[in-house]
Symmetry: C2
Subunit: 344 residues, 2 copies
Amino acid sequence: MDSQNRQWRLVRRPEGLLRVEDVELTPGDEDRRPLQPGQVRVRNLLFLYAPTMRNWMSARSDSLHEIIPLGSPVKTLAAGRIVESLDPRYPVGSRITAMSCWSEYDIIDTVSAPQIIADGISAVEALGPFGLNSLTAYFGLMRIGRPCPGDVLVVSGAAGSTGSVAAQIGRIQGCRVIGIAGGAEKCAWLRDQCRLDDVIDYRSQDVSSALRALCPTGVDIFFDNVGGDVLQAAVDNMAKFGRIVLCGQIAGYNDQDVIPAFTNMMRVIYGSVRLQGFLFGDYKSAVPEALADIIPWIRSGAIVARQDIRVGFENLPLHFNALFDGTNQGTLLGLIDEDAHALH
Amino acid sequence: MDSQNRQWRLVRRPEGLLRVEDVELTPGDEDRRPLQPGQVRVRNLLFLYAPTMRNWMSARSDSLHEIIPLGSPVKTLAAGRIVESLDPRYPVGSRITAMSCWSEYDIIDTVSAPQIIADGISAVEALGPFGLNSLTAYFGLMRIGRPCPGDVLVVSGAAGSTGSVAAQIGRIQGCRVIGIAGGAEKCAWLRDQCRLDDVIDYRSQDVSSALRALCPTGVDIFFDNVGGDVLQAAVDNMAKFGRIVLCGQIAGYNDQDVIPAFTNMMRVIYGSVRLQGFLFGDYKSAVPEALADIIPWIRSGAIVARQDIRVGFENLPLHFNALFDGTNQGTLLGLIDEDAHALH
């Protein structure tokens, strides 16, 4: 039987935004290559778009992160259904989330600990509100930001998938929460639906002076998804003993040149400010504990989350840049086709 | 009785290095102005030169630190003898260290909690090896760097008053310690007297490639007194879960322009690196605990410390720039006159 599998391979390292010519739709044998013990075959249904994927496409020499080799498929977190299994812990028919590829079929080594999606949870929920971005928000805010009631929490990229959850967890923890986002629609959503205390529209306002006006006692926690000028504005307004949660630096992901982080390091010293980077993976063992908080928050409406589902396996690369141009509304997901929708 | 007191006032904000014309030797009435309850009069004997004083002389609008008003005396930490007291806890004849001025006599509010120098400890010891810089090194390394045996510790400004102590405490804690300093003499002292594992001479070596060669598994703790290019080199070489102790940024203190902190923030994120500023004052209540470690370390020779004592009250401003041009050897102290030496 000939292979029917299709996958998107990275054939050129992007300069700036990802272009269609940087990837190529090619056949792959993951639908028929024999499995080894400890492997499962999945039919992928839904893909998470994550900004960090853009970094994996680059090849900076000093990077600590994964680099996709040229000619290999683009990697991402995906939800799929197991169609064949050589690991009894992962039965055929069950659904998992796993690091996979932009590939219709994939072979997953179960040593990588793919997560089985529990009954009653949809694939959209598993990759969306209960997924990587929400967990990242949770660990970043709770473990690194360490919110106290009354703290002033500022979140950049606040209308994004991670930012909106971080902001709302902060509200639940008793912080006064200020979101930074781009455009009136996002700001209204943050104010009205997510119930933040204040919102700064970076497209129409100067972030630094807005922060100064809104936070006369300074910023206690800055949860940063953006970096660049927004990080600078926060550094300049941090309170004594402030914490900066370095979650992402999306402002720089498409730059070829290294961009300066920020100036004014003396404020960090005199303010006894802590800046801390982290990855979701640092807290993997604490996922059940986090979900025990997150699932009820989402189901009760204490946290609102929205998903932006784009359809069509052949369109996967087209929608990637929505992460960077601000046009996505909530967690950006790629659904393999309309028919697959019923499976979630 | 006419006032005999002399003091150095800041009359112009320095541009770059402090110049003689930025300060003025003027009379002051601190030797005869009547005391209020809770005040003591001191005859200052010895002054600590600290890089942070340079920042106090500037007036950046967003600063969290003290700013010396134009026309006011230059502030510093000083050791002096109490010559008159309206606080029974501070008897006449006892010696204290206190925030004071470049002033022969000064009036100290005891609410600021000046420290009485215990019998058997000289004023040079009180401002030197048992003083502010050693305590800063201790708290920065132990509380923020949190060394573990086997950690790779890199210290910039390693031959300085703070850096040399931080490096040696790291050695005592079981770290592999690499010092960065300028010039063969300092590097030899660090290697031979302070017994560091490796030394990088930033004047003759490229710090980043030297770090890469010396630390193939990355830097676990970077104790930074310098900032600028040296901080950049460290960021580029941090190990996963590395800690950067932001103690000082001496490279930038004399700059008018704000200098970039560093680039490559993504390494901080992917490396789960923590950068943390701090001040000695954050840990004031823990000073006795710190001295219980530091005093025996110094007295046993486990930590070597050296002092660079400059003489003459009228010469105080002349020696200040030795902090920045690399000519000082150890803790830079200003002794009021040769005769006062006997008092320490």
